[in-house]
Subunit: 476 residues, 2 copies
Amino acid sequence: MLLNTLYLPELREMIASDDREGLRDFCGALHPARVAEFMEGLDAQESWRVLLAADPELQTELFGYLDPQKQTEVVHNVAEAGDQQAISRLVVDMPADDRVDLLYRVDNSVVDELLPLFPRDDRHETLRLLEFPEGTAGSKMTTEVAKLSEKLTVREALEEIAHQSEDLETIFYLYVVDEGGRLQGLVSARQLVVHFRKPDTPIAELMQRDVVTVRANDDQEAVAEKVAAYDFLAIPVVDDERKLLGIITHDDIIDVLRAEATEDAHLAVGVAPLEGGYLDTHWFTLAWKRGMWLAILFFAALLTALALRNYEGDFQKAAWLVLFIPLVISSGGNSGSQSATLVIRGLTDGDVRLGDWRRVLKRELVMGLCLGTTLATAGYFCAVLLTRSALPEGADAVAIAAESPPPTMGEVLVVPITLLLVVLCGTLSGGVLPLVFQRLGLDPALMSNALVAGIIDIAGIIIYMTVAVWMVSGLG
Amino acid sequence: MLLNTLYLPELREMIASDDREGLRDFCGALHPARVAEFMEGLDAQESWRVLLAADPELQTELFGYLDPQKQTEVVHNVAEAGDQQAISRLVVDMPADDRVDLLYRVDNSVVDELLPLFPRDDRHETLRLLEFPEGTAGSKMTTEVAKLSEKLTVREALEEIAHQSEDLETIFYLYVVDEGGRLQGLVSARQLVVHFRKPDTPIAELMQRDVVTVRANDDQEAVAEKVAAYDFLAIPVVDDERKLLGIITHDDIIDVLRAEATEDAHLAVGVAPLEGGYLDTHWFTLAWKRGMWLAILFFAALLTALALRNYEGDFQKAAWLVLFIPLVISSGGNSGSQSATLVIRGLTDGDVRLGDWRRVLKRELVMGLCLGTTLATAGYFCAVLLTRSALPEGADAVAIAAESPPPTMGEVLVVPITLLLVVLCGTLSGGVLPLVFQRLGLDPALMSNALVAGIIDIAGIIIYMTVAVWMVSGLG
């Protein structure tokens, strides 16, 4: 996505000349998401000037489409300038879930300044939502939900919604509750419209009673999976007594799915989950989240050095063995990462289940044999060429040959045999380890490619040298 | 997700005893998505028996919730049993986009048997949709869209929708078209409901004219990004003359986003995009899609062997250098993969833009220095310990020491210096290469972790041996 700078000069000119009318017209002319896109090049102060010029009912919507980082900057900036009143009005008008998301990101001192300026009900609601830990259903829900009594008819329900709808984020599903606020069922806006010609139908007759719900403390990823599986537009959040607390809407679900995809991709290469974007994260935090894993992988790699130490003498007798160390470990690591990623994504997408472990094992055995044989064949010819052709000019060929003779055609077989075994070891462990993690109740994405590769590196060295000692004369 | 086998015995019993009433009640009792979940353990033939017992209006919906693989099996199975009539009735009732998705997966011979049994209009529509290549907006759209003439009032529009709505997948947005079918604007169902009390308002007054659209040939990923950015529920697909062809709805967008996340994760480890799930893909196809990349990475790794060949003599003079080969290349590979993934996901999520290349470069320089210094410090102490402590028992210590003396404290500095340089090289190239790919108009996800790691492996060897020749006496 390129920064859209098409109207940036015009916007800046209007800001500079304080052309409020021009700015207002600009804000009203396009979809708010598109206006926000054109505003991306502006700094926090300029953005605020544009927002102030927009029609009051557009301000909050426009603000909602700015990127999260810019929103936070605007709030900090305006609060610093002393205009708490104006910014709190804007923030309080946001849908409750977006408002809470924003307040999570704003400095606590500023939140403390803004909250007392909220109307009483909004303040209580915000405080209640802020109590749900980030990443739970409760923190993603909006409390502005269309609630209907089950005693209404279609006509009364339509009247009621027309009345409520100004405050609502969505009216696709209308939730029917009893007098205690407990969820009894749902009617869709579609059903109401379809029964527009039979206005006296009681909604209890149309209502679907088997409503799928989530609890406020459920993990947001599980909620997203549920919504995606059922093709829902929104899902109700209830407490232990089935009291309707709020709903989570499709746009938040899409955000969760994207955030989880990024988190999994990061875990795969050993980066602990970030809270903001790559460029927004403080370099020190980033260094810590990367360094932690890098250190673990580093100490895993040190084990390869420890393993190689046992064979120091062998490398002097058969120096050609050194050539293929990186080849052997990278072939194992690559095939292992492939298997791990295929199984991890399969688990995430629901294509693979724990009960499929036999099929996974069989599949990876076939893959290992098939890919391993291919690489082994190619590896044999390359190894023969590399070890038997003349040494590069300048190398002290005679001296080397005296102490470490080139391998015979038979001895070169060490390379292909090792490649086959290492690839097999890679595919099998890459396929099985994520399932083991899942079985233990851990996130299979933790069994990152980097970790699989680290394990295979050590196994690769041991396999390579064991085969070598067994096949090359004079070693061991 | 565990296979839900809760009701499997009851279902099987009802099938065996041909208890159609029981099956019908079962199908009607819960949300169709949940019924489909309970049916997952059944084979294609059993599933068909359950579907046949369900209420006719439920059959297609239930079938739509079965997983894609099972749907395809059912179609093949029923067609083989000779009941083309029944299965074509089921398939033709599906929303157009889901129907086309299914037919893409069914054998061509079966498609040719079913198509002539479709009603004429459905057949033409299906054939037209099948012409759009998979992965385009056209292949994901449904043609069942709520179209209104701009001359209607709110009351007339409500009447019209109540009339059309049986055939519609969604009525959240109602599209207003002129007589030539060209898109003029949209009204939301919500607006109609809100204006329920002012039924004579012309919809032209409520209509939003600046409608964001996509073209039928647009890439599905770009479409999904657009919908996610604007928080839309559906997006209209138009042709070059802005004629409304269909819409793509939120559930298809979620599917696209998930499929793209999986595709990117696969590319990252060098697996060419799969069409089905991991377990559904034929082993031969899978072997090909993995093997292709594995072969490319293998030949990249072969270059390390070629590079090492120049230093064969040096390893005899300083055998301890061999110990750290895997450590050096894996440290570089790991830090490079981290950087590449952070930048690739940043580009996908819109946090990083091409114009940010200077910030990315600066950031990765800082990361490289910071992480490299840490690993170098740890590496120095470990290297000193490993090279200066007594050799493991059984190793021919005296003989080795004569030909290849242990390094001095100064010579061991080769390891930390190399680690710092390699990590720096990893973070910088991992950060910049995806941006270069993006700039060249290629998918940055192609600059996979595996490929970055492959490049760093070669760089790592060259850096290591260059530093060694420069610092260790008697080499080169």
